[in-house]
Amino acid sequence: MSAAGVAPTAVVAGRPSRDIGITLTVAALWLLLALFVVYPLVMLFARMLGMLGGRGSVDFGALLALLTDRNQLRAFWNSLLLAFLVGTVGTLAGFLFAFTATRCRLPGAAVTAIDASVLLPLVSPPFTTAIAMIFSFGPRGLITYGVFGLKGYTVYGLGATLFSEALTYFPIAYLTLRPILTAIDSNIEGMAQSLGASRWRVFRTVTLPLTVPGIANAFLLLFAASLADFATPLILAGNSFPVLPTQAYLQITGLFDLRGGAALSFALLVPALIVFLLQRYWVSRRFYVTITGKGAGQTPFDSVSPGGRIVLIASVISITVVVAYFYALLLYASLVVALGANHTPTLAHYRVIFTDGWNAIRDTLIIAGFSMPLGGLYGILLGYLVTRHRFPGRRTMEAVSMMNYALPGTIVGIAYLIAFNDPPLVLTGTALIIIACYVFRYGPTGIRATVALLQQIDPSLEEASQGLGARSGTTFRRVTLPLIMPAFFAGLGIVFIRSMTAISATIFLVSISWTLITVKILEDITELSLGPAAAFSVLVVVIVFVVVAGISRVLREFRAPGAPGVSLFGG
């Protein structure tokens, strides 16, 4: 919690040393972080410096030459630029969607439609969207050439990469911001208006400031996600816009230089940590509490003018149309013999994925099924502890938890491979290594969501519980947990979705016994089997939708009487 917000938490904060439950949980989390975040990175670092075998002693001169190479420096700045733009554009789009969904008084069906269209880019394996981009916007693209007749247009570069990444990651911003906008007590906005403020002024001076922690969190998540993404630039950035994660990947897989690749990746940690610290510092100077526990009826507040409403809805619809087009293309590709060459309808691709690809489907579902609850639990526990309890190394814990998220997946994957291939902990070849990778790499979304949500909730609720004699475990379960359920499900949902779609880290962790759908998709694309790749992608989309619908049902079951309504992930 913030410096300014600490005063009222004094009662909560004074206790932890006496509370054995909290101490044990903190210790367990530290143990897990040490094992699955710090240890692999240390092992990788040691391997990089030549302390664990490999080729002779390390050549610092060569390493320095690599890091100061003109092209690598350019790639470094390009990465920062791209991450900044993706963070900005993605957060804007996410806010637009979240604001429209919560403030435009849309009918339930429309909100569900928004949720669904937001989910689509999030659930697509990275390579398929990029292929759809090339198919639509290349020199002979369906849109650039087919519709506009443009010739010699080149898709590759900053524009296409930014477009594709912003489209892929803005749902994270939406999922982070929506519960926060929902949780803002509309009475406050209503009061501001009845005191004479215009709608715009209410937005600017009440709604927006209350959303700042969420916006900062969303930006941080998007910035880090873009900084770590290698798959999109690998396909779309072309030769004129190199970025660091791709360079690191090429250094390892192309030049067989594990050391150089690791060094380039560690360079990415610096901006990731700087943004994290900036965000902490900035957000922590603000104080936001709207859920105070002093129950009051929610009077709906008419926060958008009719004109603004039309503009908002039109913007949302146009983005949705773009998304829908991509997926229509994907569906079409899965149902024809060979996209671009032979458009005879066929179901053969689906037959292939359910026979040859069945093992991958089964393994992916088992792994995602285990990662999901563990990732969700990890997210709220860590988020809750670092926000509501004071213990030594609290800030460090939060920073460490972000590391696997901020590093390129290639590096995390190789670090896991190196660390867990030898005793004391041999995990390579098991499903556990993939599950651990997903939980600690994608759990941070749940942590950020929990932190942002808790910053809005007055600690006096928990103090009251403790004052009445409940222990912190009971207080957490019975007071805090129901309040941060939306964050739990946001975190859980992201972990599940990423378990179904991620590839960069896990391509190094799949084994003879456990493989994944995304690895099969990449394999199919390598073999030019666009049909099965598209069919797999459609299957992933369908599975995620079914599971997410299931989650919202469960969430409704758990809803406390009188609590605000909860739909897909939302608050």
Partner: protein
């Protein structure tokens, strides 16, 4: 005040139970049976799978395999060095294996066919042995040719035609063996005059729309017409054609290079006997005679295996030369660095 339903508490308990079950269920590594073998395949699954099934039929040994690109496969083998997870690295260009030798990840082994193979199809110490040969080709989109009234390129200089401006795709030399073979081809056809070769490549640069990470990365764009033409290995090019894309394969009259595909035994392999049986089988006509049956368009490495007729037809009258391993080995890093500095990022 908030009332917490009992169901929330149940959810927390259930999650904890799932966590415990998970640890119990998923921590075990796979059991190793006597007659199985673990392999990383660099060949795509649709070629590797039938080969391994045939091997199982012939030997009774079941092959478990995963497919990776050459760079990923080698990165894994290196990372797993102290506790190898597989016994054999199967397929992939010889230069991947050369990088592996430098890391000390292979166990020298000379299969019975070793003596029969030409020198360029085997490592002198038996660190690797070739199973196939793979020449480069020009591949052009038919619609593109028709639109510009061109014939398929028949000379390296044909690619400098203004019609190809920003319409070529080929591999990036930092990541792809295909590209390295291509660059050494250009050096070779220019009589090993490196300056002349680089002059040509610099003139080709504006024609290139994208240097792809993998050797076959440009085949689909050319198939779809997003790019007009490219330089690829023949297996990838013929596969594109077989998938139904309208492309033409042609060869430059000055000649073009070829690169061998290899197999190697991993040092510290857990099933060395079975692994050696696979290497014996793969380097012999027993496997290479099956290429034709499964439409795998590699040129067999073993001299006793006849070339499949339709492949022979494609290759008829073409001038294909092997890249001199000693020359390429000694100059590779320098040439690639020069390519990056002068051609890729001038």
């Amino acid at each position: 005040m908030i009332v917490v339903p009992r169901s929330v508490r149940r959810l927390v308990h259930a999650t904890a139970a799932v966590a415990l079950a998970l640890v119990a269920l998923l921590s075990g590594a796979p059991v190793r049976a006597a007659d199985t073998l673990n392999v990383y395949s660099i060949w795509p699954e649709n070629w590797a799978r039938p080969m391994f099934e045939e091997f199982e039929k012939a030997s009774g040994i079941k092959v478990n395999f995963v497919r990776f690109s050459s760079g990923e496969a080698l990165a894994r083998v290196i990372a797993e060095k102290n506790n190898p997870r597989v016994d054999v690295l199967f397929g992939g260009p010889v230069e991947t294996f050369a990088a592996g030798i430098a890391e000390g990840v292979f166990e020298p082994y000379k299969p019975p066919t070793f003596g029969k193979l030409p020198a360029r199809f085997r490592h002198p110490d038996g660190q690797w042995t070739a199973i196939a040969d793979d020449p480069l080709v020009f591949m052009t989109n038919d619609k593109f040719l028709k639109e510009h009234g061109l014939n398929a390129p028949a000379s390296w200089n044909d690619l400098l035609n203004p019609a190809y401006k920003n319409m070529l795709q080929m591999a990036d030399a930092r990541t792809s063996g295909t590209a390295v073979t291509r660059i050494f081809s250009v050096i070779e056809v220019n009589g090993r005059d490196e300056n002349k070769a680089f002059d040509y490549m610099k003139k080709l640069r504006p024609q290139v729309q994208l240097y792809t990470k993998s050797g076959g990365g440009g085949t689909l764009p050319v198939g779809l017409g997003q790019a007009g033409a490219g330089i690829f290995f023949i297996v990838d090019a013929l596969d594109t054609k077989a998938k139904g894309y309208d492309v033409t394969i042609s060869f430059p009259r000055e000649g073009i290079g070829t690169s061998a595909e290899a197999i190697a035994l991993i040092k510290g392999a857990k099933n060395p006997e079975q692994a050696k049986k696979l290497i014996d089988w793969a380097t012999s006509p027993a496997m290479q005679n099956l290429f034709a049956k499964y439409k795998i368009n590699f040129v067999p490495a073993h001299p006793d295996v006849a070339l499949e007729p339709s492949l022979a037809e494609v290759l008829k009258g073409t001038k294909i030369f092997p890249i001199d391993a000693d020359y390429a080995g000694a100059n590779r890093k320098r040439v690639v660095d020069r390519w990056v500095a002068e051609v890729l990022n001038p």
